[in-house]
């Protein structure tokens, strides 16, 4: 935790309210995010229990599984989820703009520009918590290898038609969410924690209700009191007033309300199956649907508070203006979205279970680039974030006091102006440390030459920097490219842009140190469904 975050947390404890960590919103929010509040069944990995989903906060769609262990009901749930999610995603797939992409011609090895489509916007998915992101991944993993009756008429338990496709999209969203700064799939708690510091521990910050209590406490109450209430307060039935944001449920809810309701449902189902005549069947069918309605209303009761909390969180976030470079990162999300659309359309198999060596290395490299870029961009977009970096000695604000022209000693001398700046900050500058400033949106590099004298009585020091680039090609620097006395400039010790890493070998050329090329069967294996094991059958 950085010093400024620690300070903000201390202030939050002191004032009883969360303190801002940002003055702008560092993640893009679309006009119509799709909010998904999923619930899972305790003790059954990957058995969904229910969900609220939709783009209209007033009209969530309720999906519920009355008996989570019933495979047919589970498939029905997934089919319904596909119906709720896929149209939202597909609505963005066909709205495109022309764009250019650099591609290497495999024949000549030359880089050429290719005209391609880029989706003008992409479907955004918001879940309440980090565990929700994990659940989206799990759903994707459990669906994308399923076979439909159309894929294979002999498959023992064919999945409904659109389920594998939903699995592929959720897998893509889940994987994209691992890229720092991406916004295709976001957790409300992560969004809020990025922008506010509370007075509770970071573990408690994962509780959406408690987190919102700190950020926006009810009138007359401190954040700490409200958060405690959100975590612990129960009604007369012993149920939490603020149920967990899922996907896990409260054990007291499971034991006292859900389990008896499921048992009633099971009994009604058995009774229906044993009905002997039409009249009895009708009556028992009534009981069955009554039992199902009860489960649905129970689930709705524990999911609605979370649903409202997510939207409330989004409202709070929308009050912040979007950081200017967040758009840039969203464009990358759009590229990622478009690329997945193209893979699906071209009939590629679902994402493999495991990345091969080259893909894993590529993903890691691109995420590291994204992380460094995100940190730099947030600091450049937001004076409060920059203040944190200044406090850590990684950036400084300084006033130019003097500029002295010097030149390189070559046949064609280039300008290397020496700029003296005054600052009361203490950046961690070593000999020839590179510093950067933003000049018309592009970084200009300078190097630290020396510090002049001791700090004066105000604690100010004079630093001499040598400007190295972005001054044009001539002997004299281009107008406006050299700081002038009186300019107040923010310098950073970190780079603003990230260079891409080296090109890795193709997977077919994986070297011997990494096990050689993936086996010839790898491609075919990836397409196969999971083998059916005895545990799959009830």
């Amino acid at each position: 935790m950085s010093l400024i975050t620690t300070l903000a947390r201390l202030e939050a404890v002191d004032t009883g309210r969360a303190q801002p960590l940002a003055t702008v919103r560092h993640r893009h929010l679309t006009d119509r995010p799709l909010v998904l509040v999923p619930l899972t069944t305790a003790g059954e990995a990957g058995a969904p229990l229910g969900a609220l989903v939709g783009t209209d906060r007033e009209a969530p769609r309720l999906l519920a599984v009355a008996q989570p262990r019933d495979r047919d009901l589970r498939f029905a749930f997934l089919a319904e989820l596909a119906e709720a999610v896929l149209p939202h995603i597909e609505a963005y797939a066909d709205v495109v703009e022309p764009a250019e992409r650099n591609e290497t011609d495999p024949a000549t090895g030359k880089k050429t520009k290719v005209e391609v489509e880029l989706c003008t916007d992409a479907g955004q998915l918001i879940v309440p918590s980090r565990a929700g992101v994990e659940f989206v991944r799990l759903l994707g993993r459990s669906m994308r290898f399923r076979r439909t009756a159309e894929d294979d008429p002999d498959t023992p338990y064919p999945a409904p038609a659109r389920v594998p496709l939903l699995g592929r999209w959720l897998t893509h969203y889940g994987e994209r969410a691992r890229v720092p700064g991406s916004s295709l799939l976001l957790a409300a708690t992560d969004l809020l924690n990025r922008h506010w510091a509370t007075g509770q521990s970071s573990l408690e910050d994962q509780h959406l209700g408690a987190l919102l209590s700190w950020i926006d406490p009810p009138a007359g109450s401190s954040g700490a009191e409200a958060a405690l209430r959100a975590e612990l307060a129960r009604d007369s039935e012993g149920q939490l007033l603020c149920p967990p944001a899922g996907p896990a449920t409260d054990p007291d809810f499971d034991n006292r309300l859900l389990a008896p309701a499921i048992e009633r449902y099971d009994r009604a189902r058995t009774a229906l199956a044993s009905a002997e005549d039409g009249l009895a069947a009708d009556a028992r069918l009534g009981e069955l649907s009554g039992a199902e309605r009860e489960i649905r209303s129970l689930l709705a009761r524990v999911m609605l508070p979370t649903w409202d909390a997510v939207w409330r969180g989004l409202d709070l976030l929308r009050e912040l203006p979007e950081g200017s470079r967040a758009e840039d990162r969203w464009t990358r999300d759009r590229w990622s979205f478009t690329a997945h659309r193209d893979r699906v359309r071209s009939g590629e198999p679902p994402q493999p279970r495991r990345d091969d060596a080259v893909t894993a290395a590529q993903k890691l490299a691109s995420r590291e680039t994204a992380q460094a870029q995100l940190e730099a961009q947030e600091a450049l977009d937001d004076p409060l974030v920059l203040a944190g970096r200044r406090l850590a000695g990684e950036a400084f604000l300084a006033t130019v006091t003097d500029v002295e022209m010097t030149y390189t000693e070559s046949k064609r001398p280039s300008p290397r102006p020496l700029v003296t700046v005054r600052t009361d900050e203490r950046p961690h500058l070593g000999e020839r440390t590179k510093v950067y400033r933003s000049l018309e949106g592009k970084p200009q590099t300078a190097e630290f030459v020396r510090a002049e004298d001791e700090p004066d009585q105000d604690g100010d020091v004079l630093l001499v920097l040598r400007i190295l680039d972005r001054m044009g090609r001539g002997k004299e620097p281009a107008p406006g490219s050299v700081p002038e006395p009186g300019d107040r400039i923010a310098w950073t010790l970190f780079e603003h842009d990230q260079r891409g890493g080296p090109k890795l070998p193709d997977p077919e050329e994986t070297p011997w140190t990494h096990g050689g090329p993936p086996g010839a069967d790898a491609a075919t294996r990836a397409e196969q469904p999971d083998p059916v094991t005895p545990e799959d059958l009830l």
């Binding site: 010093l3 620690t6 691992r178 720092p180 495991r354 990345d355 091969d356 060596a357 080259v358 894993a360 290395a361 993903k363 890691l364 490299a365 995420r367 590291e368 994204a370 992380q371 460094a372 850590a392 000695g393 203490r426 961690h428 020839r432 190295l468 890493g501 080296p502 090109k503 890795l504 070998p505 050329e509 994986t510 070297p511 011997w512 140190t513 990494h514 096990g515 050689g516």
Partner: protein, 444 residues
């Protein structure tokens, strides 16, 4: 009955077997584990010279530009005629200016310019950009345990076979983003190059250098027991071979007493009162700076097997090690305030592979309210505790043992990931227990 251990002979036997496998063996790779100061660089230089002499074109992969330049200089010292290529980046000042004075060294940013030279040396990062060249028959990968698996993936196509040399006890490579999704895969891109290599090629011969020439007899047993319990090593020198003494007597202050203790026993712990502090604990930082100042003021002289006469311990023979960059910066500022210049102050990551007479360490857990995986990392403490030839002074707040007991390591166990022994918690306790015997309380 035990025979007298002859460190020179043991080391020579190990080196002989390594060179034999490298020059005449049939496997595509040879792995050499080297404890701190066991002559890893000497081995690399010797292997390079012998491979070149046998007519095998060789590429050498190191991890940092400083390591590359150091190797080039050492090669030139051993064989001033050997044609060496230094492949460098196209940034400004890509290599040490010393190389300009070496007649046998060709420098270029393009691999094609260096084709045909006996030995070509560069960093892994630069090699990764070299494409479309005839692969080298042989390669030496230096500091292979600090190289990440994905970095090896990018360069492994450039050579047929390779000698991998490194220290398994030092800091593991790290990534700035989570890489848990690949944990347990044999080619986990965030793991070390050696773990991927051995996971795919378990039959490769593995060697070990058995003698540390850097660590004094007072330090080798502790470092060996705490960090290399299953692959012990010895010091190359005995207790009487090294001596640290001062021209000026102690003034009775904390820094002076801890320096005397360290000169006598090889270790010193300067303990400040227990307190939770920010990372750049001003008192601890000042204590570190004072110890360094007094060490230089008191005219320390080091007697060792290297020279006939005692050698003064000058600023360039002293280092300060910290866990974090801001701590290093704070110590630098404190030293500057005391008028000390020329002392290397850096984090464990950057001190890796370097050697000094005396080191002063700000304990990674000093003043902390918690012990995170970062601060408990075995390699961090190992690096900090194994840079010195004579003595190591640790500056620390009281209560770290209790802190450790309150924070047992809780890292999740991942399937398929080899559990590292000893874990940082255990190693920290082992070192603390030893340091406790050389404790001096802070008295300004």
């Amino acid at each position: 009955m035990s025979t007298v251990f002859d460190p020179g002979a043991a080391a020579a036997r190990a080196t002989g077997a390594i060179l034999d496998d490298t020059l005449r063996g049939s496997s595509r790779g040879v792995v050499v584990d080297s404890p701190p100061g066991a002559g890893k660089s000497t081995l690399v230089v010797r292997a390079a010279l012998e491979l070149a002499a046998a007519g095998h074109p060789l590429m050498v992969i190191a991890q940092t530009n400083a390591q590359v330049d150091d190797l080039v200089v050492r090669l030139a010292e051993k064989d001033p005629e050997l044609p060496v290529g230094r492949l460098h980046s196209s940034d400004s000042d890509p290599y040490d200016k010393v190389l300009d004075g070496l007649a046998n060294v060709t420098k270029s940013a393009k691999a094609a310019d260096l084709a045909g030279l006996d030995v070509v040396i560069s960093t892994a990062a630069k090699w990764a950009h070299v494409k479309n060249v005839e692969p080298w028959g042989h390669a030496i990968v230096d500091e292979a345990y600090q190289m990440r698996s994905d970095a090896l993936l990018a360069v492994a196509g450039l050579f047929e076979r390779a000698l991998f040399v490194g220290d398994p006890g030092q800091l593991d490579p790290f990534s700035i983003v989570g890489a848990d999704q690949w944990a347990g895969l044999s080619y986990d891109p965030s793991a070390s190059a050696v773990s991927t290599l051995l996971a795919h090629n378990p039959e490769l011969p593995q060697h070990r250098l058995p003698v540390s020439w850097r660590l004094p007899a007072s330090a080798a047993p502790l470092v060996s027991d705490a960090f290399y319990p299953y692959t012990p090593f010895r010091s190359g020198t005995g207790h009487r071979d090294r001596k640290l003494s001062f021209g000026v007597a102690s003034d009775g202050s904390g820094p002076d007493r801890v320096l005397d203790e360290a000169a006598e026993s090889g270790w010193g712990l300067l303990e400040l009162p227990a307190r939770h502090t920010p990372r750049t604990d001003p008192e601890a930082v000042r204590a570190v700076a004072l110890v360094v100042r007094r060490l230089l003021d008191r005219g320390g002289v080091a007697t060792s097997e290297r020279a006939e006469e005692p050698v003064p311990v000058t600023a360039d023979r002293v280092a300060v090690g910290t866990a974090h960059r801001d701590q290093a910066a704070a110590v630098r500022a404190a030293l500057a305030e005391l008028g000390v210049t020329g002392v290397a102050v850096d984090t464990a990551n950057r001190l890796q592979g370097r050697e000094f007479d005396v080191t002063v360490v700000l304990h990674p857990l000093s003043g902390r309210p918690d012990a995170t995986a970062f601060h408990l990392e075995t390699g961090r403490l190992c690096v900090l505790a194994s840079r010195h030839r004579h003595a190591c002074v640790v500056v620390c707040r009281e209560g770290v043992a209790d802190l450790l007991d309150e924070h047992p390591s809780t890292e999740p166990v991942q399937l398929g990931v080899t559990v590292k022994f000893p874990d940082g918690w255990e190693a920290n306790h082992a070192v603390l227990a030893h340091l406790a015997e050389h404790k001096v309380r802070w008295r300004p």
